[in-house]
């Protein structure tokens, strides 16, 4: 009876292990798919940037033109799944203080949030929210509040810019979406891999 019980438990663990292995492989498959799409999107973006540089001149699109006036980003990331444990602190000798440790309880999910400054209302609005972020309270609208304005990066390169530069901007925006998907897949794959290794260890010990 005891042997039958332990056999059932062993079978249950193996089923769980199979499930986790399949989950891991699915995440890795998604990861590889997203990597390929990211590469293609980035390549398109670089081509458009090169075309814009050819049209407008190399000096018109270069890093010295990046604005160093204080400004906020119009694309930020919302992180779910991680929480700050205020009782666990780790010492940081260089800072001579302690900082709260981030504890991860499961796969971390990233969500891209785009911010558009609404000058009429003198506040920032969130657009293109993913998943259930659209139901968040007004507190979420204050993420970019402060003295900094968001900036339109195209304006750094002149009033009239090549359509290739706009196209490059669109490609890199798409690449940003893919980066977030890639990170989510990476987080899932790492989490599933961790589960597989623990279950294998448990099965070996039994």
């Amino acid at each position: 009876m005891v042997e039958a019980g332990s056999m059932r438990e062993g079978t249950g663990n193996l089923e769980q292990l199979d499930k986790e292995v399949l989950q891991c492989l699915d995440s890795v498959h998604l990861l590889l798919e997203r990597r390929e799409i990211l590469h293609q999107t980035l390549r398109q973006g670089w081509m458009e940037l090169t075309s814009a540089r050819y049209t407008m001149g190399p000096a018109r699109i270069s890093s010295p033109l990046f604005s160093l006036k204080p400004h906020a980003p119009s694309a930020v990331v919302d992180v779910r799944g991680a929480h700050v444990d205020s009782t666990e602190k780790i010492g940081v000798p260089e800072l001579e203080e302690e900082i709260a440790q981030v504890v991860i309880t499961g796969p971390v999910a990233f969500h891209l949030v785009e911010i558009e400054q609404d000058e009429r209302k003198d506040r920032w609005e969130i657009k293109n929210l993913t998943d259930d972020s659209a139901t968040e309270s007004d507190d979420e609208l204050t993420i970019a509040e402060g003295s900094k304005d968001t900036t339109q990066p195209l304006h750094w390169f002149g009033a009239l810019v090549s359509p290739h530069l706009r196209s490059a901007q669109s490609n890199f925006s798409k690449a940003l979406d893919i980066v977030v998907e890639l990170l989510n897949a990476q987080s899932e794959a790492a989490h599933a891999h961790g589960n597989v290794m623990s279950l294998r260890r448990a099965a070996t010990e039994n």
Binding site: K148, L165, A175
Partner: protein, 128 residues
């Protein structure tokens, strides 16, 4: 003892370490941030950039609380591979991306290597 916990869901920045074209592209997409001290969340790496400058930028971005993702071109990550491999914090997340002149090398991807290792280990039942 129940730990007092606060959900860290505040929106965070995306930092970039890459060549001029990659950084320009992502800045066009709107990830650029400059604070009141003119501190940026990006580093443009060119032929004059030293390895120390890259290491310092990586260390700075990974220690900032307002950064959730650090994008780094894979060929630049290879220059500071030891520092990248020793990095084990969950946040900010590090993502190596291809660059214009250096395609992505999957053999250097840590997740893929770990999964490959998981399946390439010899099973104990196959031993005679």
């Amino acid at each position: 003892m129940a730990a007092a916990q606060a959900t860290a869901r505040s929106s965070s920045l995306i930092a970039i370490i890459g060549d001029e074209d990659t950084v320009t592209g992502f800045l066009l997409a709107g990830v650029g941030n400059v604070d009141l001290r003119r501190k940026t969340n990006y580093l443009v790496v060119d032929t004059k950039t030293t390895i120390k400058a890259i290491e310092d930028a990586f260390k700075d971005f990974t220690n900032r609380e307002d950064v959730a993702i650090v994008l780094i071109s894979q060929y630049i990550a290879s220059m500071i591979r030891f520092q990248i491999d020793s990095y084990n914090k969950p946040l900010p997340a590090i993502l190596e991306i291809p660059s214009k002149d250096h395609p992505y090398d999957p053999s250097q991807d840590s997740i893929l290597s770990r999964v490959k290792h998981m399946f390439s280990a010899e099973p104990t039942s196959s031993r005679s």
